[in-house]
Structure formats: C-alpha cells, structure tokens
C-alpha cells in the first residue's frame, strides 16, 4: 500500500494517525486488506513462485510447468468441460432466475415466501448428493418414473444432471438478487412509459433492463464464480475420476495435489486465476462501455 506523499505519521499516545482527511478510507480498508493479503494475496504470490519451480525440491524451472500444463490432455479436457459448463449453465441461470423474479413481481404472493428459495443453498452437499443419487441412479426414482434403465449419472447425461444441480442450487439466491435489483427501477418512469403507450415487453427492454445492468454485472460475476463450486457435488457423486463429460478443472487440480504434482497445480492455478480475472475485468469493462 503506497501512502500519499503529503501524508505523515505522528506518534501519539493513542497510536498511529494519518493527517490526511481525504485518505481516511484507507483505515476502513486496512483490516480487510490485511486479511486478503494474508490469506489470499501472499499465498497466491507463493503459488506464482511455485509455478516456476519443481514440485518439492523447489528448483527454478522457467516456463516448464506451464508448457507441461498446456500439453496435458487431462487439463485440456478439464478446461473444455469447464468452459462448456459455464457457457451452458450461466445463461440458463441468469435468464430463468430473472424470469422468475419478474413473475414474482407480478404475483406478490410468491415474493412473500422468497426465503424458501434460499433453502437449496442451506442444504448440506452430502444430503443433496444422496437425493440426487436416489433420483438419477440406474435404479433410481427417475428411471422408475420413465420406465427405463438409464444411469443419468453416467455419460453425457451426467453433464445435464450437473447443470440441473447447479441451477437448482443457485436459482433461489439469484432470484433474490434480481428482486432486489428490480426494486431499484424507478416506478414513475415505467408509469410514464406506460402512459405513453409502451407495452410490457418494450418497458422491460428499454427501461427495466438498462437499470439492471449494474446488478447484472454483480449477479453474473457471482454466478460465474459459483460455477466453480459445483465440484463438491461432482466429487461426492463420482469421486476423483468421474466420466470424462463432467471432469472439471477442480478435478485436475485435486488429483494433481493428491499425486503431489504441485508444480503443475501451481501453474494451472495461475492460469485459471488469470482467466477468471480477465473475465471479471472484461465484464466490468463491457458494462462501463455500454454506460
């Protein structure tokens, strides 16, 4: 943290104090910054360092780990699956949750029980996994209902089960966020538009949606980050080596860790962080440009 040039410290009986009235926000940031530095930034710096060294001996090896990661078929498969997963589930989640939020605005009764929509987030992963196994296994409830003998947890079907798991788990939370955002849309503007003869669709696309852009960035980013948390369910259902359709980035990191491929894991983590950071920046920039 670089302090402003004019700032100075003075030792007083009650501790440090910065004499710069426009820098007081730093003091509010400091606890959080310290925590983030201690538990995120510094360890990540260590990961970056390790990505240029061998696993346990710590010898400098240049870009070898990155080359090894890029050449690794398992990593490439995991990246492909993860991108596919994000590409499919993120639009589904954002659109479906927004539609439900809009519906809830129109049907006030639904909004009264919005706390219930958060229930999936409160359910322990082990319970969720058990239920999903009961439903989607070869001898499960769904197979029985359809009168077939499909193992929905195998092959490409497992991918769609995973999408359903993610959407189900995050839908309520996202709906609540959309609801909060919808409340920020000025009612008088919508009323004025309606008086001017604009229909519901037109009002939505020309008034509501532009007002939701700021929230969309936050919701989109949170949902994007949440896609990486679905590993827990996948791992509990299929272990370290699930079908190749649902083999995600976290699997490869997890397995590298188990096999002590810490060098590859560090390089992979740096690459993943870079991509995540780039996506976040891109989304932010996109929003700014449109503003």
């Amino acid at each position: 943290m670089r302090l402003p040039r004019k700032s100075r410290f003075i030792w007083r009986s009650d501790g440090f104090r910065i004499y710069s009235s426009n820098r007081k926000f730093l003091w509010f940031l400091l606890p959080s910054l310290l925590g983030v530095s201690l538990f995120v930034l510094i360890p990540f710096g260590d990961v970056v360092r390790r990505s240029f060294t061998t696993a346990l001996s710590g010898e400098f090896c240049g870009w070898d780990n990155y080359v090894s990661v890029f050449r690794n078929q398992a990593f490439r498969l995991a990246v492909k699956n993860t991108l596919r997963f994000v590409g499919v589930c993120l639009p589904i989640l954002l659109v479906v949750s927004l539609v439900i939020a809009l519906a809830m605005q129109w049907v006030p009764v639904l909004e009264k029980c919005k706390a219930c929509y958060l229930l999936p987030m409160a359910m322990p992963a082990a319970t969720v996994v058990l239920v999903w196994k009961l439903v989607f296994a070869k001898q499960g409830f769904l197979s029985g209902l359809l009168g077939v003998q499909y193992d929905f947890l195998a092959g490409d079907r497992a991918f769609w089960v995973l999408i359903a798991t993610y959407v189900w788990k995050n839908l309520g939370y996202t709906v609540v966020l959309w609801l909060a955002a919808l409340r920020t849309v000025p009612v008088d503007i919508k009323e004025a538009a309606r008086v001017d003869g604009a229909g519901a669709v037109r009002i939505f696309f020309h008034i509501t949606l532009p007002y939701l852009k700021g929230a969309a960035y936050t919701i989109g980013l949170l949902s994007f980050l949440n896609t990486f948390k679905v590993f827990r369910e996948v791992y509990l259902i299929a272990g370290s080596y699930p079908g190749e359709e649902i083999y995600l980035l976290q699997h490869v990191f997890h397995n590298w860790y188990t096999k002590l491929d810490l060098d590859k894991m560090a390089a992979g983590a740096v690459l993943a962080a870079a991509v995540l950071g780039a996506v976040a920046l891109f989304m932010g920039r996109l929003l700014e440009d449109e503003d």
Binding site: S13, N255, Y257, L260
Partner: protein, 803 residues
C-alpha cells in the same frame, strides 16, 4: 506523567508477551517435540508422568525377557505361581501330556535371571502317570500349597458318533488326585474355566453344554471341599477373583459380582472400556487378550495390547503405566497366559507377564529412562499391516529410546477413503511434515519417486546385502535406473499346481492355457478351480498387470486385449466339463471376496487351499499364490500337494516370472531422522523375522527363509513326523485330514530354485488394476466383447493416465 505511565504499561505488556512467546516455544523442532509428547500422551504417558517440552522427564518401565537356561520344549504355559524361592511357571503340553514346572530364579540380582526346568520326577506321581498314558491335559491352575485343578481331555468313538469328555480333577498338596464334578452337578461333557483367587481357594465356572449360562463353585485348595456359589446367566470365557469380587468376561462385557452377598454389582464402565476390544480374544482355554491383577487400595492392574493400566474400581480415570506401543504388550500375535506383580526394594511394582509362546517378560521401573522417547519415527501405511505392527513392537522392545509411531491412513473405523487419506498425506508431505517411513502398498510409488519424495535406498540395500543374503533377483526388479526407492519386507508368488507330466510341458502362458483347454475331466468338475471371472482376472493379473502400461505411461491396449483373451479362454476352459448343478454347488460353498481392495492388495488364494480343492473336488489344476511362514504355509501346501500322486507345482506362467511384493518400505527423503529411519528399515528387513510365526508373506531376506527351513524338531525322535494336523469337513460330512510334516532339504531346494527364477515384480498402478479387475468380468462372461471391455477400461483410466 500519564504518558510515562502508559509507556511503562506498554513495556510491561511487551515484556510479558515476549516471555510468553519464549516459554511456549516457537521453533519448529520444539513444536515437533510437543507433537511427539502429545502423541505419546494420547496413547498414554509412561509411568503416569507428565511430559513437558522443557527438560526431558525421566522414568519409565522397561521390559526384559527372562531367558530360558535350557531348551524347555513345552508349548502351553498355563500359570505363574510365586513361591519363596522364585517364580514358578506351570507348563502343560497338549499333545503328549507333558506337564512341566519351571522356575525363574531371581536370587542373584547382579546376574541376568534365567528360567530353569524342574525335573519332571519331582511332579506328583499322578501327573507322571498321566504323562506316560499320554492324556491330554488342557488346562491347569495351581495354588501356593501345590494343590491343582486341571482338565483331562479324552474322546471315544462310539458306533454312532465321537464323544468328547472333559474330566476335571482336584489334586491336593500331597499329590492325591480326586475327580471333581461339582458335587455331582458337573458332567464329563461340561466345559469349565478355572482361576486361583489367592485366598486359598480355586474358583471354577462350569458351562453346561447346550445351555445358556453356568454355575460358579469355590474349591478349597487345602482339602478340595466344594461349595456351589451361584448361577451366572451368561457364558464366561474367563474369570478372575480378587478383593472378594468375581470378574467374569465374555464378548458382551465384564461382569462383576460380590462374592460375599453373591449379588451382581453395577458395571465398571471405566474397566470395561479398557478391556472391551479384547473381551472376545482367547485361544479357547488358557490364554486371553487381557489380564486383571489385584492392586492396592481397591485398584486393579489391567493388561491389554494397549498397555498396562492401573484402574481404581469404579473410578473414572485409569493410569497408563506401560504403553503397549512401546513394548511387547502391543504384540497382538501373542496372548497373555498369566501375570504377577511384586514390589522391588524401592517399593515400585515390578510386573511379570507370561505369554502363550512361553516367554516371560519382566517390566521394571527405570528412573533414568526418558519417560517419552527422545526421537520419534513416523511410519505411515494406507492400510493396517499386522507384520509391520509386530515389527514395531519387537523394535520398541530393543530400542526404548526411539518411539515408532505407526499411522494408518484408512483405519476402517472413521470412514476415511483412500482419496481422503492420500490428500491428507500429500498435505503433510508438501508442508514438510510427512512421515519418515512409508509402506508403499497401494500408495502411488511412481509418482512419489518421480517427485523426489522417496530416499534412494540402494546404499542401504548394499549394506544389508553385505551382511546377509536377500532375494536379489526380486529387489533388483524394483530398481528405477540406478535408484532403489522401495524394498519389500515380504512377497507372494503366484503358482500353478497340477499333474507333473502336464506341468512339464508348460513353458509359457499360451501353453498353460492350451494344456487347460485340452484337458478333459473324467467327471463333472472344474479344470482350474477359478470358478468366477473375478478370480480368473485376479490370478492372471499377478503375472500380466506389469505389461499394461507402455514405457511412456500410456495404456498398452494390445497387452490388455491379450490379457483379457487369455482370461476368457481360461474362464471358459475352467468350466467346460462341469454340470450346472455342480457349478452351483461350488459357488455356494466357496466364499470369494469381491471387495478386492478391502484390506489387501489382492485377495488371498492360498495355494494350500487351492490344492485342497483339487483333492476334494478333483480340480485338474490349482492356481493361487503362496506366501507366509514355512511352517504354516509352505509345509501345509506341500503336504496337501503330495496327497495326490504325481502332482507338482511351478510358477504361474505369464509375462515373466513374477512375484507380488508386500509391506514395501520406503524412506522419506526429507525425514528429519534419517539415521533412525534407516536403522528401523534395516531391522525390518533383518533376521528378526526368524522368530515371527504369523508372517503374511515370504521374507525378502533369503537368510531368514533358509533359517525357517531348518527343522526345529531335528532333535526329537521322529524329526520327519507330522507336527500338525489339519481337518477339513465338507457339507456332505466327509472329512479330509492332512498331516503336516517338516520336509526334506531337496523339497526346499526346489522351492528356492523356483523363487530364484523370479525376474519381475508386479507393481501395477492402483487405479489401473482396479479398473481392470472391476471392469473386466463382462468380457469373460460374454456380456461384452473384449474390444468393448478394453474400450471401457481405457475410458476409465485415460484421464488418470493423462494427468
């Protein structure tokens, strides 16, 4: 003024903080010491002392084996009895009724005490007569005055059935024998359990055959007067009487009775907690998994495999006096026979334990011995390994200055999966806190070796080789270039047994398959006794799994296809001549473990049992594996083999002559105690194994194997006679008996020649082996084609191999 005061307060606080940091210790080594102390404390501090990280606390019980001055010959120690001139050992002998008294002489404290045999001629004449008559004396207790109670086992064969009798006797101090029948309420068929109450009386628990519960009697050691005390509504496996209380144990719990009021007392939960895991451990009559001995002030000494505790009756806390993990008490291969406690000149109790292998151990308090060993070796294995556990116990007895902490990743009690355990281990290794020694069974050997986790043991092995012979052909197969990362303590060999003429024509796996295919059973039956596809895959994986991966680490589909093709041919040939009815019968009576990774790397298909199937069912060939101690495994296998004329054995043909290593030892390259770790590894590979009878594999030390081949009965009258008898009954009531005898040198020479021909080691990646063994069966049964099965297996492992 105020500023000064605040400054003072700050300085004072800073000083106090510094002092706290200094006293608690911040360095890594101190933290490690604290961890060790904590670990030992969790398993129990020695002598009840508190361990600190400051100056080393001293004082611990150390053990000493009291040696026999001469060959004792017996094998059934039944009791310890203190007398004025020493501690007497009572030794019965099940097979020829030899009853011996021996005495541990401690009169000269400056010399090592020894145990001396007492001339059998000094025994009461009645016992001498019983010895001559070769009666089977199965249990015996003795009082201070020399009075005894014992059981003589006899059986008679009537026309309808065999009848077994347990005749009970009381012998007074003068040696007069009187049949004991509990005043007429105890029959010849009933089983009894004796104990001496150290109050001048024997206590006898009578368990009536085919009835729940039994009755307790008190027998006066002076005149044999018997008094019925009470009925017990459970079958007591062992009883102890002291302090006016009866402690009767069975697998359900430890029941306590007041012998004055004859009322059952409430359970002592603390005492039950101590012994609960050993309640059901017994050899049937005289040896048990735990012992109780009266202490002072309502206390009781409790000995289990966890150690020796002092427990105040109905108290909440038990004090661990001797940690079982640091001495022979933790040796689960031995059972307790009796225990005796005396006080030394300083008033400290000295403990004696008699084991069922006739070893007498003495534990005395050494005030100079550090209460916690100063150095700790962490040994890690994924699954529990009893051979390693025994080695640790033996090592601890010799090296009380080192603490070997054995950690099992998957204990089976806590739901930890293999992946959980490997993750946890990886964390420890990555943080520099990894174990000092690994047991590489089921651990990723290749990955750990490539990452530099493992120490190169080639130098250590060189030292070992200079001292004694090893199966160098096997160890050599484990080298990676010039480096050796693991040395197995034991190994198994896959074998094929069958008609000697047919075997002589088998040179490789193809000729073996053809020989089995061409064989025609004279009647309905299995040709190779494999029965199930899983067993076929398992047996053939012994010799083929090493070929499934190419040099670059990718899957060799051709080798896998060839393997499944061979297995399919074998599986089909095996059942070509058996009727469905007979096949169902074989399936019903044979239990196969399908959960192949439950406890061991492979399911045991002991050759002795496989060849016995050949004898019972007429299987043409037997395929399985051989490992273990000569006396119990090879001699039994060979005895069964020779019951069918013209039968021979050979290594199971495959891709090379293979063996399966077990208890693969490796040392952490980053260990902080390299010398101690290497010393322990050397010990585990040394001749200590010679005295171990419960080995689960063939020792890698050839010297140990050669020593095992020496006939311990050479000095007996009939050195080549049977020393063990095995009976196997079929559901049809047919009995197959096997007399196991020591073999001639040429038999062992042939065995050694076979072991010398081994040139490769079966070390397949766990995930790959698992995928093949669990996914290969459909190819054999015809549910899927071999190509489809190979595709599925390849799909399963491709991600693993790609990582």
């Amino acid at each position: 003024m105020q500023n000064r005061t605040q400054k003072k307060i700050r300085r004072l606080l800073a000083g106090m903080l510094g002092a706290v940091l200094l006293l608690t210790g911040c360095t890594q080594s101190q933290q490690k010491q604290a961890d060790v102390s904590q670990a030992v404390n969790e398993s129990g501090a020695q002598g009840g002392t508190t361990v600190s990280t400051g100056p080393v606390a001293k004082g611990r019980y150390v053990e000493q084996e009291i040696p026999w001055a001469e060959n004792h010959g017996g094998n059934m120690p039944v009791a310890l009895l203190p007398k004025a001139d020493g501690l007497y050992l009572l030794d019965a002998y099940y097979t020829d009724a030899e009853v011996k008294l021996a005495r541990a002489d401690f009169s000269n404290s400056s010399e090592m005490p020894q145990i001396y045999n007492i001339d059998s001629a000094t025994l009461p004449k009645v016992l001498q007569d019983r010895m001559k008559a070769e009666d089977y004396i199965t249990d015996m207790v003795m009082a201070e005055n020399g009075a005894r109670m014992y059981t003589v086992f006899t059986f008679s064969k009537t026309e309808e059935q065999r009848q077994y009798f347990h005749d009970k006797y009381f012998m007074d101090a003068e040696g007069n024998e009187v049949p004991w029948d509990g005043g007429g309420s105890v029959s010849r068929e009933d089983m009894v359990v004796y104990t001496y109450g150290y109050d001048g009386c024997f206590y006898v628990y009578n368990h009536k055959r085919d009835e729940e519960g039994g009755a307790l009697y008190r027998v006066n050691a002076a005149d044999g007067e018997t008094k019925y005390l009470m009925d017990l509504d459970f079958y007591a496996w062992n009883i102890n009487v002291f302090g006016g209380k009866l402690f009767a144990g069975n697998d359900e719990g430890l029941h306590i009775y007041d012998l004055t009021t004859l009322q059952k007392l409430e359970e002592d939960t603390g005492l039950t907690e101590l012994v609960k895991e050993r309640l059901g451990v017994s050899n049937g009559n005289y040896a048990t998994g735990f012992l109780l001995y009266p202490g002072e002030d309502e206390s009781v000494y409790v000995a289990t495999d966890k150690g020796l505790y002092r427990h105040i009756l109905y108290g909440n806390v038990s004090e661990l006096l001797i940690d079982g993990t640091l001495c022979s008490l933790g040796d689960i291969s031995k059972l307790f026979t009796d225990m005796y406690v005396e006080e030394n000149e300083n008033g400290m109790p000295v403990f004696y334990f008699l084991y069922d292998n006739l070893k007498l151990m003495r534990f005395s308090y050494d005030p100079e011995m550090p209460s916690v060993p100063e150095k700790t070796i962490h040994l890690y294995s994924l699954n529990e390994n009893s051979d390693v556990r025994l080695a640790i116990t033996a090592y601890q007895s010799l090296h009380p200055e080192v603490y070997v902490l054995y950690e099992v990743g998957m204990s089976g009690d806590d739901g930890v999966t293999r992946e959980d355990a490997l993750n946890s281990l990886a964390t420890r290794i990555a943080s520099g806190e990894g174990p000092d020694i690994f047991l590489m069974d089921n651990l990723p050997l290749r990955s750990y070796a490539n990452k530099g986790v493992l120490m190169d043991l080639s130098g250590l092995y060189g030292d070992l080789k200079s001292e004694q012979q090893y199966f160098d052909n096997i160890v050599s197969a484990l080298y990676t270039g010039e480096k050796l990362y693991t040395i197995p303590m034991l190994f198994h060999v896959p074998m094929l047994a069958g008609d000697a003429k047919i075997l002589s024509g088998i040179t490789d796996v193809e000729s073996m398959v053809k020989a089995i295919e061409d064989y025609r059973m004279p009647k309905s039956g299995l040709r190779a006794g494999l029965i199930r596809p899983e067993a076929t895959l398992q047996c053939m994986s012994y010799t083929h799994s090493g070929s499934w991966l190419k040099q670059d680490g990718s899957l060799d589909r051709e080798a896998l296809t060839e393997f499944l093709t061979i297995c399919k041919k074998l599986y089909e040939a095996d059942r070509a001549d058996i009727s469905q009815e007979d096949l169902d019968y074989r399936m019903d009576i044979t239990e196969y473990t399908t959960d192949i990774f439950n406890s061991h790397y492979f399911v045991s298909r002991q050759m002795g049992s496989m060849v016995m199937n050949r004898r019972i069912f007429g299987d043409a060939f037997a395929i399985g594996d051989l490992g273990g101690e000569i006396k119990y495994e090879f001699n039994y296998f060979y005895a069964v083999l020779k019951q069918i004329e013209g039968t021979d054995y050979m290594l199971l043909p495959g891709r090379g002559n293979t063996c399966m290593p077990e208890a693969m030892l490796a040392v952490n390259a980053a260990t902080t105690v390299p010398e101690e770790a290497c010393a322990f590894v050397k010990y585990m590979l040394s001749d200590y194994l010679e005295d171990t009878e419960l080995l689960s594999g063939i020792p890698i030390s050839r010297a140990v194997l050669l020593d095992m081949e020496k006939n311990p009965f050479m000095e007996e009258n009939d050195p080549w006679g049977a020393y063990s008898y095995h009976s196997l009954g079929t559901p049809d009531g047919e009995i197959f008996q096997t007399e196991v005898a020591w073999q001639q040198e040429n038999v062992y020479a042939q065995y050694n020649k076979m072991l010398d021909s081994i040139d490769s080691v079966n070390c397949c990646e766990y995930e790959l082996l698992n995928a093949v063994l669990t996914g290969g069966a459909p190819a054999l049964t015809g549910e899927k084609t071999i190509e489809e099965t190979v595709d599925e297996i390849a799909k399963k492992v491709q991600i693993y191999l790609a990582e």
